[in-house]
C-alpha cells in the first residue's frame, strides 16, 4: 500500500471508506446467533433441489468494524441535525427527539399486526385520534392514515376518484393539473388509469378562466397543490372548486405544502374533496434519507365509503377494525401503513397543540418571506406577491454563465444543504427555498450571507463555483456516465481489480 493510500485509509479526516464487501475477511462474524440452539440439518428437511447451492455474497465483518463502517458513512451525509436544509417543498423542519423515543416504546414497536384487537387498543386509539386530528386540521370529514408516502396518498386519492365515479356509473377518464405540479401528481393519476391534461398557469396561478375550457363530462377532476410549488397561495381555489363541481368533477389537493396553512385556513373549507398530507414534512417525522414517510388522505363525507380497508372505528371505549366496507378501494399496503411514523406525528401534534401548529405555520411563512425580501436584490424573484412557506428564485441574469447547479454546489462548501433546484419546471433555473419555522433568524442570516457571497463570486471568481463543491468527500459526480452504463451492484471481480 502506497503511503498516500495508507494515509487516506487511516487519516481520520479523509474519511475514505471502502465498500463493506471490501472489508470482508473470511471467518469474521459480527453477531453470534445462538450458542445453544442447534441448527437443523437442512438436507434432511428440505428437498435437495430447493436447497441453496452457494451462500449469498454477504460480507464477513466483526461488529466493531460494522459499527465503524456505518458511523464513517454517516459522516458523509448531511441531515437537518447538521444544519440548515432549505429543500423546497420538502419541509425539512427539526425532528423533535421525543418523537423517536415514543415510537420506540416496545408497546408500539413490538406490536404484531396480526395481534387480536384486544391486544392493540393503544395503537388503535392513537390511529383513531390521529385521523380525527388530521381531518380537523384540513377541514375534512374523515381521514385514512394508511398510505405510506405522499405519492402513495396521491394514488389512494386518485383511486378514490375512480371508485366514486364507477359507483355513480360515470366514465370519466381525465385529470387536469397545472404545469407547476410535482411530478408525482401526473404519475399517480396515470397509475390510477387516468389520462393527464396539463393546464397552463398564468403568473404562477391557476384561474377559473384557465380551467374552464378543459372542463367537460370526461373530466374526473383537478389536482391542485396549495400553496403551489412556486410558494404562492392559489387564491382562486374556491372558484375553481365551484367550476369543477359544476362539471361533475372532484377537486384533489396535494397537501405537501400544508405547513403554510395549519390553523390559518383549511382546504376543506375551500371546496377540496380529497387531499393527502405528508407526515414526514408538515408533522416533523424524519425523512430517513428517503423514507419512511406517511401520506394520509383526508376526504369529504361523500368519499368516505371508498377509503382503504380496513377502517378503525370506536364503539364505546373500544376500538376495532372494520373490513366490511363493500365500496372501499381495498387494501393499499400489506398491513395498515407506517404505524410507527404515526406515533411520531401524533406525539408532535400533542406537543404543539392548536397554538403551536398555528405558530409554526405563521413563522414558516415569515421565514420564507424574510429570505425572499433579503435576496431579491441579488437573485431574480419570480412573482411580485409575497410568498407562503417557500420562495422561488431564478438563475436568470447570473454573470459568467453561472447556473443554478453551480450555486447549489457552492452552498455545500458554505455548509448548507442546497435548496430544491430546477423545479418547478416553469421557472428558468429554479432555486426553491423552504426554510421552515424551526430555523432561527441568525441561522437564516448566515444562509442569506452565503447566497450573497456566492453571487459576488459568480461575478469575480466563477471558476470557484464551477469547481464546487470542494469540501466534500467527493467532487461533482458524473451522473451521465452512471446512467449510460449502470453499475448497480458490487461484484467480486471489480473489487479484485482495485
Amino acid at each position: 500500500m502506497s503511503e498516500e493510500k495508507l494515509w487516506r485509509k487511516r487519516g481520520s479526516m479523509s474519511y475514505e471508506e471502502p465498500l463493506i464487501f471490501e472489508k470482508s475477511v473470511a471467518g469474521q462474524e459480527g453477531f453470534q446467533v445462538s450458542s445453544q440452539a442447534p441448527a437443523a440439518d437442512a438436507e434432511k428437511i428440505i428437498p435437495k433441489q430447493l436447497l441453496r447451492k452457494s451462500r449469498a455474497e454477504l460480507p464477513e465483518v466483526g461488529e466493531q468494524e460494522v459499527v465503524r463502517h456505518y458511523s464513517r458513512l454517516s459522516t458523509w451525509n448531511y441531515g437537518v441535525d447538521h444544519g440548515f436544509y432549505p429543500l423546497g417543498s420538502c419541509t425539512m423542519k427539526y425532528n423533535p427527539k421525543i418523537n423517536e423515543f415514543t415510537a420506540s416504546l416496545p408497546g408500539f414497536a413490538m406490536l404484531h399486526p396480526e395481534a387480536p384487537e384486544s391486544l392493540a387498543q393503544g395503537t388503535l386509539e392513537l390511529w383513531h385520534r390521529l385521523e380525527e386530528d388530521l381531518a380537523e386540521i384540513c377541514g375534512m370529514d374523515a381521514a385514512s392514515i394508511q398510505p405510506c408516502a405522499g405519492a402513495h396518498g396521491e394514488l389512494t386519492g386518485m383511486l378514490l376518484f375512480r371508485a366514486y365515479f364507477d359507483d355513480k356509473g360515470q366514465k370519466r377518464s381525465k385529470i387536469l393539473l397545472p404545469d407547476t405540479a410535482h411530478g408525482t401528481n401526473p404519475a399517480s393519476a396515470a397509475l390510477a388509469g387516468f389520462e393527464v391534461v396539463e393546464v397552463e398557469t398564468q403568473s404562477g396561478l391557476l384561474t377559473p378562466e384557465l380551467v374552464k375550457p378543459h372542463l367537460d363530462g370526461s373530466v374526473a377532476g383537478l389536482m391542485l397543490t396549495n400553496p403551489n410549488t412556486l410558494g404562492l397561495f392559489e387564491t382562486h381555489v374556491a372558484k375553481i372548486a365551484e367550476l369543477v363541481h359544476a362539471a361533475g368533477g372532484l377537486l384533489y389537493m396535494d397537501g405537501a405544502n400544508l405547513n403554510a396553512l395549519m390553523g390559518i385556513a383549511r382546504p376543506g373549507d375551500m371546496g377540496v374533496d380529497v387531499m393527502q398530507m405528508n407526515l414526514h414534512k408538515t408533522f416533523a417525522t424524519p425523512h430517513g434519507g428517503g423514507g419512511p414517510g406517511s401520506g394520509p388522505v383526508a376526504v369529504k363525507k361523500i368519499l368516505e365509503p371508498y377509503l382503504p380497508n380496513p377502517r378503525v372505528v370506536k364503539k364505546g371505549g373500544h376500538y376495532r377494525l372494520d373490513c366490511d366496507r363493500p365500496k372501499s378501494i381495498g387494501r393499499m399496503t400489506g398491513w395498515y401503513g407506517n404505524a410507527l411514523v404515526w406515533v411520531k406525528a401524533f406525539t408532535y401534534i400533542l406537543r404543539m397543540g392548536k397554538d403551536g401548529l398555528k405558530l409554526a405555520s405563521r413563522l414558516a411563512v415569515l421565514n420564507a418571506n424574510y429570505i425572499r425580501a433579503r435576496l431579491r436584490e441579488h437573485y431574480q424573484i419570480t412573482y411580485p406577491d409575497s410568498c407562503m412557506h417557500e420562495c422561488v428564485f431564478s438563475d436568470k441574469g447570473m454573470p459568467n454563465e453561472v447556473t443554478t447547479m453551480d450555486v447549489a454546489k457552492r452552498l455545500i462548501d458554505y455548509g448548507f444543504h442546497p435548496p430544491t433546484i430546477y423545479f418547478p419546471l416553469v421557472i428558468h433555473g429554479a432555486i426553491m427555498v423552504e426554510p421552515t419555522e424551526t430555523e432561527s433568524k441568525s441561522r437564516i442570516d448566515e444562509f442569506i450571507s452565503a447566497m450573497i457571497k456566492i453571487k459576488e463570486e459568480a461575478a469575480a471568481t466563477p471558476e470557484l463555483l464551477k469547481s464546487a463543491p470542494l469540501k466534500t468527500p467527493v467532487s461533482r459526480l458524473d451522473e451521465v456516465a452512471a446512467a449510460r452504463k449502470p453499475v448497480l451492484c458490487w461484484s467480486v471481480a471489480e473489487s479484485e481489480d482495485k
Partner: protein, 467 residues
C-alpha cells in the same frame, strides 16, 4: 411550549421550543420584508376562508406530559415484548442486534432527505448501493432497487412491471393459491381499473400449487408465486420454474420471510423475471405492520422497466468512486405521467437497517440463523404431527411456519391464549372461510423449545375443551 405561562413569554407571540424566534427578531424580519404584521403575509388567502376560530385540538403539552400520554397508549397494547409470539404471516418477531438500533440513531442518516445532492449524501448512497448488492445476491437476481414500502406494495408493483415487460400486455394475472391474501388484495387495488383478468390457482392437499392446474393455463400476463407460501409450505419451485419457462410466463417470485433466502435456492435460479417481497426480518421490529421493507429485484435486461429509486456507481472529477441516484429517466420527476411508478419517498432508512443487519449477521451468520429457525419450526411440526388432538393441515416441507388444524374456531383459541401471554398465531378464517379451525403458526429463534412445548399443550387443551 407555546402556552406555557411559566416561561416568560413575550405578550404577542407565544413561544414554541421548536420555533426559536424572539419577538425582537420577528420585528426586524417584518421590517426587512416591509410588512406590518405576520397576518399581512397571508393577504393572498381570501379573508372568507381564513379560519376564524381555533383548531379543535387540545392546547400544546409539555414534553413530560406528552411522554406520559404516549406511555399510557403504548401500555394499552400487548406486544411481542409482553407475550411469546408465534404469529407470523408476513411479519416475524426476530431478534434485532443492538448495534442496529445504535447505528440507526445516527441522525446524519435519519434526518437527511432523499439524496438529491450526491456530494452531500454519499453515506446514504453508498449504504443503499451495498443494500442493493446484498438483495441481488440473496435473490439470485441481477439488479435490485433501493426499496419499496412493503411486501404487498412491492408485489403489486411487480405485477405492473410484468405488463411493461410484455410485448403485448394481455391475459390474466395468475396467482398461486398460497400467495399472501393481503398481497392478493393489494394487487387487486392496484389493477382494478386495468383489463387483466385475475385467477387464483388451486392448492393441493400438500399445501402447494396444483401443477396440473398450472399446466392447463393459457399464457397470461404473469405468474405470481410465493415461496415459502402463506401457509408456510415450500413450493415445488423447480417444477414451477420449468413450467413457467415452457409456457412463457413472466415469473414473479414473492418471499415474505426474507430469512428463508439464506437457505433456499433463490428465485433467480428458477428463472424468475422479478423477485420481490418483504424484508422486515432483516432488522425491523413488527411495528404493527409498518414501516416495513419491500425488496425488489429483477433481471438486468428489465432494469429500465423497474419501479423505484436506483443507486449507481460512478466517478467524480478526480476519478474517485462515488454513488448517485441513477436511471432517473424512469421516474416521476422526469417522466411525469409516463414514469414506471409514482414512487418518490421510499423506505430508505429500512434499506439501511437491512444493510446493517445483514452486515452483522454476515455470510455465515444468516445461514446459521435460518438453520435455527428451521430447527425450531420442525421441532414444532414434529410435536404437532405426534399430537392426538392437533393436525398438520398440509404435508409439504416448511421453513419456519406451518398451518395447524385445531378442530375448533382458531380465532377463539387465539383470544383465549392471548390472556395467558401467548400470541398463538394467525387465525385463517377471515381469508379462508373453509379453514376456520386453522391457525398459522411461526417458530423463530425467539421461541424456545420449552415455549413451543407449552404452546402445543395449550393448543391441545383448548382444542379438547372447545369440542
Amino acid at each position: 411550549m407555546c402556552a406555557d405561562k411559566s416561561v416568560r413569554a413575550p405578550k404577542r407571540f407565544k413561544m414554541s421550543f421548536y420555533c426559536p424566534h424572539t419577538e425582537n427578531e420577528i420585528k426586524e424580519m417584518l421590517e426587512a420584508i416591509g410588512a406590518k404584521s405576520i397576518d399581512d403575509l397571508f393577504a393572498t388567502v381570501p379573508p372568507e376562508f381564513r379560519l376564524k376560530r381555533e383548531l379543535n385540538l387540545p392546547a400544546g403539552m409539555p414534553e413530560p406530559e406528552v411522554e406520559a400520554e404516549l406511555n399510557r397508549l403504548a401500555g394499552k397494547n400487548k406486544s411481542c415484548s409482553d407475550t411469546v409470539c408465534f404469529a407470523g404471516g408476513g411479519v416475524y418477531n426476530h431478534y434485532v442486534p443492538r448495534a442496529v438500533d445504535y447505528l440507526l440513531m445516527r441522525s446524519e442518516f435519519s434526518t437527511a432527505y432523499t439524496p438529491y445532492q450526491p456530494e452531500a449524501s454519499q453515506g446514504t448512497l453508498q449504504a443503499i448501493f451495498e443494500y442493493q448488492s446484498m438483495i441481488k445476491s440473496l435473490t439470485g437476481m441481477e439488479v435490485a432497487n433501493a426499496s419499496m414500502y412493503d411486501g404487498g406494495e412491492s408485489c403489486a408493483e411487480a405485477v405492473l412491471m410484468s405488463a411493461r415487460i410484455a410485448k403485448k400486455p394481455q391475459g390474466a394475472i395468475l396467482m398461486a393459491g398460497g400467495l399472501h391474501p393481503h398481497y392478493r388484495r393489494v394487487i387487486g387495488t392496484y389493477t382494478k381499473h386495468l383489463e387483466y383478468g385475475k385467477k387464483v390457482l388451486p392448492i393441493t392437499p400438500s399445501g402447494q400449487m396444483d401443477l396440473d392446474a398450472l399446466k392447463k393455463e393459457k399464457p397470461g400476463l404473469c405468474l405470481v408465486v410465493q415461496h415459502p407460501n402463506y401457509f408456510g409450505c415450500l413450493e415445488q419451485m423447480d417444477e414451477i420454474g420449468a413450467l413457467a419457462k415452457e409456457k412463457n410466463f413472466t415469473l414473479i417470485v414473492i418471499t415474505c420471510e426474507a430469512l428463508s433466502l439464506a437457505m433456499l435456492e433463490p428465485p433467480g435460479s428458477f428463472g424468475a423475471a422479478i423477485a420481490a417481497g418483504e424484508a422486515q426480518s432483516f432488522g425491523m421490529r413488527p411495528g404493527f405492520g409498518g414501516p416495513l421493507l419491500g425488496f425488489f429485484a429483477s433481471r438486468e435486461e428489465f432494469v429500465r422497466k423497474m419501479p423505484g429509486r436506483l443507486v449507481g456507481q460512478t466517478v467524480d472529477r478526480e476519478g474517485r468512486r462515488g454513488f448517485v441516484l441513477t436511471l432517473a429517466t424512469r421516474e416521476q420527476h422526469i417522466r411525469r405521467a409516463k414514469a414506471t411508478s409514482n414512487i418518490c419517498t421510499n423506505h430508505s432508512l429500512m434499506a439501511l437497517t437491512a444493510g446493517i443487519y445483514l452486515s452483522l449477521l454476515g455470510k455465515n451468520g444468516l445461514v446459521k440463523l435460518a438453520g435455527v429457525n428451521l430447527e425450531r419450526a420442525n421441532y414444532l411440526r414434529r410435536k404437532i404431527s405426534e399430537s392426538k388432538t392437533l393436525k398438520l393441515k398440509f404435508s409439504a416441507p416448511v421453513f419456519n411456519e406451518m398451518t395447524v388444524e385445531l378442530g375448533v374456531d382458531a380465532e377463539k383459541v387465539v383470544a383465549a391464549l392471548a390472556n395467558e401471554g401467548i400470541l398463538a398465531g394467525v387465525p385463517l378464517k377471515h381469508h379462508f372461510p373453509d379453514m376456520a379451525d386453522c391457525l398459522l403458526v411461526a417458530a423463530t429463534e425467539m421461541t424456545e423449545k420449552a415455549q413451543i412445548d407449552e404452546l402445543v399443550r395449550k393448543l391441545e387443551s383448548a382444542a379438547r375443551s372447545g369440542r
